[in-house]
Point group: C2
Chain length 343, copies 2
DNA sequence: TTTTAGCACTCGTTGAGTAAGAGTGCTAAT
DNA sequence: ATTAGCACTCTTACTCAACGAGTGCTAAAA
């Protein structure tokens, strides 16, 4: 779709004014606030064209225009200028990550908290999961017959642990053998890197523990999978009510459903590709429950490996420039904090 | 305060009808729905007296009466009949606990989920914390210099674990010595039972590890404390919006503040005494944020030791009989589920 | 003395009607 | 191509009256 210079200016003005005020934008407002050097009447003509193109719409005849979802998309793709965080905001965020963290969860919770203070959108985050992190050490601690604790330590010092059931009776002795195999052969590898090929060479050398190692691999894999499914962190629920879109109780209801039944948010994060920032506007979202919302997401990494995703959810009338800047800054900062040693 | 038989009947009718309908109750409604065998006019006279006694009030002249907070208190203390859960509800709840649970958290989360399905109030729960549970075994797993994982296993098999910093360089050897001391001398004791007296006898025998044991005790104590402060589980946020009290966004706002800033709920649970069910109506609550809510709480136990508390929060117009029956049944069932072995 | 029927009174709710205001689209002049 | 002017539309706010629910009081009935 080709728009001349002036139509673009008008569309930009409609979108930005509506984002700022949540009200329909009139031709007069644009003429007054955004110096296009033309009269309201001219702007009205342009607006009529933009409406015909489906980029803006009128709630009713005697109201101004609001952007359509298509209009927002056009704005995000072509008109929007890069948003900037203030130095103050940046340093607040950075300082949070500078503090020493004992566990992964601590970092995540701090992130949620700080972001919900600098935005009025819903903040949500998955991971960080060690599934793709490089292994440093594996420990099995026998607690009772058939019951043990598995501790997985990543190369840069992060720890994941989980209670597991051992389907067969395994002695502490045998567990220690398995530990040794892992720590000797697999140290420094990510889980997906422990390929069949590598396994084979291990098998040859250690044919006796073959069954045991297979078992251990299954257990570790399932633990890492389960963890990554479980981990969803949320914040900013109180702030998002400030958005006038949520003056209607029905909307709030939908939002709380989303929060309590976390699967939608989880899937949104799981489907985020690691190719920079993803923006989904209204009906571009797959799920019914978020079709009147917009979502900005991005992945974050640990030592080059994607380990989780971070997102902001707000009304379609969202400050995209700011949201994108924030998501970008957070995922970058978080990635470098996680890549630094956990110890 | 002494009320004659009929006044009590009228008060009961006002409270129960208002709980059911959320509307002011008129004298005519009472005469029609609750057979007192007298005319509306008589009931009006009784109502005037009840109003003078401060037990009911009128939103405005041409409306019926609603109970005052004092009226609810009178009802809860003297009029209310014991509520009952249906067999279906009871068996759903019981079946949840019958399932094998791997970790404490699993049980807790299931509880929250099932309760929020059978009530429209906010469900919240603290613990279970092992602080008061009998120790079975303690393990220190050295992960890196100055960094270790502490695993605490209770007598009936529940496990708590936490990453800890070791302030001094401690060898794996020394950690194992400490483990041995704990497992030999303290097995079967709850933490508060490890008194100075017992410690002293240990010191005499093992004077060499004295400093180390002191250090270990401090660490374990702080871990258990920290855990118990952290653990707050919530559910039912979506359901509570069904209550007509929350048609006003401002109220919803307050509720979300409560949910996101969990300290108030945490304190309410922490202050719950283990003397059966506690009911706090409106301004009987200490905290401003919940003065237009009522809270029903009770503690639950593991092998006789209180390890956490469970609560329901709703509007002052709450179905107290049902809420109390539910809290009672849940805490009992939860206690016996936890007291059964964790394995 | 207690209960109740009857009635006047109060107050919130609803709906209709109206005026004001915002914003548009169209036309004709620039 | 742009714009001033104006008629038209639609929402919002406000007023006013009618209605209804429920009470309190009084006087009669039990």
């Amino acid at each position: 779709m080709k728009l001349n210079q002036r139509k673009q200016k008008v569309l930009e003005a409609v979108v930005e004014d509506h984002i700022a005020t949540a009200e329909p934008v009139s031709s007069r407002t644009i003429a007054r606030k955004y110096q296009l050097g033309v009269s309201p009447a001219t702007i009205r003509n342009e607006m009529a064209d933009l409406e015909e193109a489906g980029l803006i719409e009128q709630p009713h005849t005697s109201a101004g225009r609001i952007p359509s979802q298509k209009g927002y998309r056009y704005y995000v793709d072509r008109l929007m200028r890069k948003g900037h965080l203030t130095d103050r905001e940046k340093s607040t965020i950075t300082s949070i990550f500078a503090q020493q963290a004992r566990e992964l969860v601590d970092i995540v919770q701090r992130t949620i908290k700080i972001v919900s203070q600098c935005t009025d959108y819903l903040v949500f985050l998955s991971g960080p999961q060690l599934e793709n992190a490089a292994l440093h050490k594996v420990r099995f601690i026998s607690l009772a017959p058939g019951k043990a604790m598995l501790v997985i330590v990543s190369e840069n010092g992060w720890v994941e642990n989980k209670l597991i059931d051992l389907p067969v009776a395994v002695s502490q002795e045998e567990l220690e053998q398995v530990e040794r195999v892992f720590n000797n052969y697999f140290r420094g590898l990510t889980f997906p890197q422990i390929t069949r090929a590598i396994l084979k060479s291990v098998y040859d050398e250690l044919s006796r523990q073959r069954l045991l190692i297979d078992l251990a691999l299954d257990i570790i894999e399932s633990v890492l999978k389960r963890e990554s499914e479980d981990a969803l962190y949320l914040g900013g629920t109180r702030n998002i009510l400030k958005q006038p879109e949520y003056r209607d109780i029905q909307q709030v209801r939908k939002l709380l459903d989303l929060i309590e039944e976390q699967s939608v948010l989880r899937t949104i994060l799981a489907e985020t590709q690691n190719i920079g920032i993803t923006v989904r506007i209204g009906r571009e979202n797959k799920f019914d429950q978020v079709q009147n919302c917009s979502v900005v997401t991005a992945t974050y990494a640990m030592g080059g490996n994607t380990v989780g995703a971070f997102g902001l959810l707000g009304p379609v009338r969202m400050n995209y420039a700011r949201a994108i800047a924030l998501v970008e800054f957070i995922t970058q900062t978080l990635s470098s904090a996680l890549t630094r040693s956990g110890f």
